[in-house]
């Protein structure tokens, strides 16, 4: 696109780079009073001016490279982190992405006015071309800001999903050789895989012979959930642990029957307390003969 100095677009972005370099201080000073900078850097005004400088410098570098419409332009890299911090601060004071975007949009006025005041140095045509480049540059900055906000949000979602996966499936040692897993939320394939892995590891670790799967916190038991539960029970059994599923509420019990699910081979109890009682009775019965021959 940039084809030597004769290209009007290249000349325009060169003029923009020049303007931003020469008037950087003025622009940074004016930005320091705009909400996007003023509300983020509340300690001293100098801080806001300095942050403004960093943004102006970065924009100037981008204009110089002639890639004013390129989000990946190298010139943007130094301020990405700063923008993440600034937008995070704005978002935490309750602003929506659109509102932050509008605040960033307001930044261009200062630069535009300075460009108009600069006409003495440039011809009318050059000013026109420079204005186009400047507007494009600020549009790209707005996209960059929205982009960093979205990326940040996405990272938060990913992190929370990971946390949920791990947090929601603790295996609790209830008694000697007796573990329990309180299940919460929806058991989709990913979750049930984590549950199964955690449970099987806990069975090894605690030498468990009985495991209680409590589904009090599972809102919906459909055929897939039942399928996952039964697979978990079967794997635990292969490892020598017997499973009991507890926390079957009346509505869930009726639904399971009408759905036609057969939990036949699996022991079930209404509450965790019932399951614990069953487990303890079972252990006593089993252990009596073995205690007899040491």
């Amino acid at each position: 696109m940039t084809d030597g100095a004769t290209d009007p677009a290249a000349a325009g972005s060169e003029a923009v780079a020049d303007l931003l370099r020469r008037r950087g201080e003025q622009i940074a000073q004016r930005w320091a009073d705009l909400p996007f900078f003023q509300t983020v850097f509340t300690v001293t005004r100098d801080e806001a001016v300095e942050a403004g400088h960093a943004v102006v410098d970065s924009l100037s570098a981008v204009a110089e490279s002639g890639r004013v419409d390129d989000l990946e332009a190298v010139g943007f890299q130094p301020i990405r982190e700063q923008l993440v911090a600034m937008t995070a601060s704005r978002a935490s004071s309750g602003l929506s992405t659109a509102q932050v975007d509008r605040e960033v949009g307001a930044l261009r006025e200062a630069a535009l006015e300075l460009l108009e005041a600069d006409t003495s140095r440039l011809g009318a045509e050059e000013v026109g071309e420079a204005r186009v480049q400047l507007l494009t540059l600020f549009a790209t900055l707005r996209v960059l800001v929205v982009d960093t906000m979205l990326q940040e949000n996405q990272e938060i979602v990913l992190r929370q999903r990971q946390q949920l996966l791990e947090m929601a499936t603790p295996v609790i040692k209830l008694w000697d050789r007796l573990v329990a897993v309180p299940l919460i939320g929806m058991l989709d394939s990913a979750r049930s895989q984590v549950v199964m892995e955690n449970l099987l590891e806990a069975i090894v670790e605690h030498k468990a012979t009985i495991a209680i799967l409590d589904i009090t916190g599972v809102s919906t038991v459909d055929s897939l959930v039942a399928h996952h539960l039964m697979k978990t029970v079967a794997s635990a059994r292969l490892m020598g642990a017997e499973c009991v599923i507890s926390g079957i509420r009346p509505a869930i019990a009726q639904t399971i029957v009408q759905l036609g699910l057969d939990l036949g081979p699996v022991t079930t109890r209404a509450s965790l307390a019932d399951a614990l009682e069953w487990a303890l009775e079972r252990r006593e019965r089993k252990e009596l003969p073995t205690r007899g021959n040491p």
């Binding site: 989709d188 919906t220 459909d222 399928h227 509505a251 009726q254 699910l261």
Partner: protein, 146 residues
């Protein structure tokens, strides 16, 4: 008790996490429509099964949830629409234990038992629309219908 039939709520079914949205919408609307806990659980479970079918067999689609008013009071009607390959043999698909996706094979037949009304429209290569309706008070509804 709203009189006018409202616009159905349309929930897209494109990925696994959309199933959660379908369940939540159905549950919230069922609660607002006056469903008891058992009726609510049955409808949400049926919706969960059918939405998963839409995703697995229909290649994605949408759920349309609307409040309906029958002879004996309000109910909820949920349609699952996809433009997938269709169901070649509806009777076979509705038999217990028949599965092409490695599940338990209870999804379609089971959900039919969980609701009061169940209708399948399926065109080979033209998609499937399964509509289920559940009444907030099914016992008086049954008397009213027969």
């Amino acid at each position: 008790m709203s009189q006018a039939a409202q616009e159905p709520i349309r929930v897209p079914i494109r990925k696994d996490t959309d199933l959660t949205a379908v369940r939540q919408h159905v549950r919230a609307l069922a609660q607002r429509t006056g469903f008891g806990l058992v009726q609510q659980t049955k409808l949400v479970t049926a919706a969960s099964e059918l939405a998963r079918n839409t995703l697995l067999h229909g290649g994605g689609g949408a759920a349309e949830i609307s409040v309906v008013h029958g002879r004996t009071g309000p109910g909820l009607s949920v349609s699952f629409v996809d433009s997938g390959p269709g169901i070649p043999d509806v009777d076979l698909a509705l038999s217990d234990g028949y599965s092409t996706a490695g599940g338990l094979g209870m999804g379609l037949s089971g959900s039919k038992r969980l609701v009061q009304e169940f209708a399948i429209e399926s065109v080979p290569d033209g998609g499937t629309r399964i509509t289920v309706t559940s009444w907030a008070d099914p016992y008086s509804a049954r008397q009213g219908a027969r």
